[in-house]
Symmetry: C2
Subunit: 527 residues, 2 copies
């Protein structure tokens, strides 16, 4: 049952007076529950509990943390249709999408459970003592990861489950041993509270300390600022706009003790279509990209917002097909009237730029909150000179940039801002003639895709989801996949430390049987 | 030969008019060479060259980079006595220390050469395609590290070789594939230029692109600010004061594109002496710590500035012995009159605090620029209330904090700022009764030392040199040892990328024979 209250640790709390409601974009009405924004006092209690909980939680072993994570997954499934229905009512997304995203969320929780149960993720590294070393005896030094401390996670509007309350950031932080304070996303506060109730149940069932998890409601930005500025908080996870992410980064940088902010922000995900591919399969590419641009009503951070090609017959056919196909896509609602409003504003601004051509702009009647997709073309020279056209239009919209030649294309790519992905479409090994271009593209992105679409991010160890700023605030860390756990930890070394006081991961006997690096050699052996 | 000029890439350049000289603290005179501060134009040329060089340098394979690094080491050795003499003239340190530090510098360069020649450091991770995966075919995704781009390294005053021009930061950055621009430390500009000449020679001999390395002279702070603010720079390495490191971090955070700053800053390196150890060996500990506090005239970031014990006979004997022994140490010069001045000021400020007791304060006549060592005691309650006493006094000085009980000690430790190290001195397994205290200490430090001294940092894989702020700006990365290479790289993923266009590290055949993670299993196998 959704109460509209905050979880301050395990306790439902509603001391505040500021309230807000979520919105059903399909029905174009507010949902009934009133959510009460957390007060300064409630926030302070939640952070105090988190700091205390950290002391006990970071000592939980991998099996205990795995049980916690798996129990969260079980409890989320136990929410059954109430969760799916609330998700749909608060996002306008389909039941299929809700179920798919729940599956992804469950999968993430279980994959982190497996990771910490196995235990090797701590990157244990041991350099045994060498008393005969010259000029001085060498100490025994051993290193592994330890959790940073309480972490604040900001839920993402476009992933009410997989990148919100018990999504990727939370699963990774809990797996690392960090208590999590969620700043619930106001657009899906009910979904958030339901998932939070599942996390709290799991924490209680598996004996986790009170304060290991809190869920904080907030309609505006001041609660988030308080959280990020608080001295108990040791790191921040965020998925959202460049403006929002940058504001948090700036806040965190100004603290007495600056803390890391992992913000996964905007991206236009450039796609480069090489001439032979356009010559051979312009029509197919037009169809495929009409699908990728409108997938999830364009509300993915990997949405292809810029497509580049060299002028010619192939590109013309591609543009024509893309325009026709995208108009065939049945419009869908966006997550919230505010997101639709931003989309319409950004699209209109792009279209109003000089020397651009509208290829497609859906303009039949649509229901309230439904997005009208569009495609624009622009010449490379015009694009080069107009930074407005480089900016993300979050929604089902893309710009095709028609370049005069390879050199112009490469120059444009070299000047793009940092991106999550860069895609190359090529046939007949033509990519081998574009080595410099690809090298330039690589420099601007976190993931290179060949002959595919950027949408769809596999949750695998080898996935890197993050790119040079402003795609993310720290390109060295991924927001997707098991390596995202590295955002929430720091190494600690033990020098000549007594074996029985070492964490099990570093003890001579290797009681957990984990993989370790001993004098640079990787093994599971004892010492 | 020292010219006083800048290396702008491979070219000696002196377009500026602002000049400065280094200082011989032993002779208390300026050294003769005039160093010319780089102009804005020279800086701009160096950064342009670095950006261009990055394109070619990042494609050099491990063998080529290893040859470059080993040749730098060779060329540094070829500088022979000119380097050692200049080092001594600019630092006042001994020939033995100069030779030792040169050995460490050479060792670091060669260890990074070995690392990149082996190649496994890129953490290659491969998740092969799975066309049968349900509900959707799985893409082939492969990930490895790539270099960030041009890096600015600020030389450290207290390590003219090992943490300056071709020191740890530079060796790691070049190994990663990042061009390096050195902001030469003005106190040892001649040592810096000599080492820079060795790097440039090595770059030319091994066919590295012009701009892979530049050495920028600067007497003040404006050149450093220009470097950190420049859009071509992608990361910063710094070793020095909290004030200096924080200023760079703030500059980097305000850029349009914020960049990581790895500043290894101050630390007071708390030492906790438990009662049984003090009871059993107070005298020995007094002698050992008199040595650790005065090692290198206290000019190490791991110098033990705070020693904690519980009041009692053992602690009294320790304090008495420490006071006597430290006065027996023969004073030595500090690196520069400015550093001595800061030491004297900070020491006087600590001594002037209310309710502190001077145990030792060397006051015989000393030569100019020689430091007078000292020890102060203070009660736990007084220390708790006076933050001034928590601050680093860089030099041969330490405060012994006499605590009433375990609880007071633990509370004090929990409120310390972040530290590079924390040391526990214990006998007869007494440490087992101080689990909470040790856990609290662990939370504040990057390295725990048992029954030793914090000074002396082994260059090993398991060493972590960095701690919670303000010990360093990013506790997740080490400044010492091969893992420090991770500061200068970011992961990139390749999705369905053609095998022949992949970096060798990710190709099916594993032509480099490196260790990779394939579907989570670590091996050197082909695919």
């Amino acid at each position: 049952m959704i109460t509209g209250k905050n979880y301050i640790g395990n306790t439902l709390s509603s001391k505040g007076t500021i309230s807000y409601k979520t919105f059903n974009p399909q029905l174009n009405v507010e949902n009934p529950t009133e959510f009460l924004e957390a007060t300064r006092e409630e926030i302070s209690i939640a952070l105090g509990l988190a700091s205390e909980a950290y002391k006990a939680f970071r000592k939980k072993d991998g099996k205990q943390k795995a049980l916690f994570l798996n129990t969260i997954a079980d409890e989320i499934l136990n929410l059954e249709d109430e969760l799916i229905n609330t998700y749909c009512e608060e996002s306008g997304l389909t039941v299929g999408r809700a179920q798919g995203e729940r599956g992804r969320t469950i999968g993430q929780l279980r994959s982190f459970a497996t990771l910490v149960e196995n235990g090797s993720w701590v990157e244990a590294s041991i350099d045994p003592a060498d008393p005969d070393c010259s000029p001085m005896a060498k100490s025994d030094v051993r290193k592994m990861f330890m959790p940073l401390g309480p972490v604040v996670v900001f839920g993402a509007s476009n992933f009410p489950l997989a990148y919100s309350t018990a999504g990727g950031d939370t699963a990774a932080a809990l797996a690392a041993g960090c208590p999590v304070i969620i700043k619930s996303h106001p657009m899906h506060a009910g979904t958030g509270e339901l998932v939070a109730s599942a996390v709290i149940k799991a924490a209680e069932k598996t004996g986790m300390p009170n304060g290991v998890f809190s869920n904080i409601n907030a309609g505006g930005i001041s609660v988030g600022s308080q959280l990020v500025s608080h001295s108990s908080v040791k790191a921040v996870g965020f998925t959202g706009s460049i403006r929002g992410g940058r504001a948090l980064l700036d806040l965190a940088s100004k603290r007495d003790e600056p803390i890391p902010v992992f913000a996964e922000m905007g991206s236009v995900n450039p796609v480069v279509m090489l001439p032979k591919a356009l010559e051979n399969r312009a029509t197919d590419l037009g169809k495929i990209y009409a699908g990728s641009i409108t997938l999830g009503t364009g509300q993915f951070c990997t949405n292809p917002g810029l497509i580049f090609g060299l002028k010619g017959k192939g590109l013309s056919i591609f543009v024509q097909t893309l325009g026709e196909e995208i108009l065939r896509v049945v419009p869908m609602s966006m997550l919230h009237p505010n997101i639709l409003g931003a989309y319409e504003g950004n699209k209109a601004r792009a279209i109003s730029q000089e020397n651009t051509n509208i290829v497609a702009n859906y303009n039949a009647d649509v229901k309230a909150n439904y997005a009208q997709q569009g495609v624009l073309t622009v010449d490379g020279a015009v694009f080069s000179e107009n930074p407005t056209l480089h900016q993300e239009v979050f929604g089902p919209f893309s710009i095709v940039v028609q370049c005069d030649d390879k050199e112009q294309l490469e120059t444009i790519i070299s000047k793009l801002e940092g991106q999550l992905t860069g895609t190359v479409i090529a046939d007949n090994n033509e990519e081998q003639n574009y080595e410099d271009l690809i090298s330039t593209l690589q420099n601007r992105v976190g993931r290179l895709v060949f002959n595919g679409v950027p949408t769809g991010v596999e949750v695998t160890a080898a996935m890197h989801h993050g790119g040079p700023y402003p795609a993310s605030t720290d390109s060295r860390f991924t927001a997707v996949g098991i390596h995202s756990i590295k955002r929430w930890v720091r190494p600690i070394s033990y020098q000549d430390w007594p074996n029985n006081l070492l964490p099990k991961e570093l003890q001579n006997e290797n009681p957990l049987g984990i993989t370790r690096s001993i004098n640079g050699e990787i093994s599971t052996r004892k010492i």
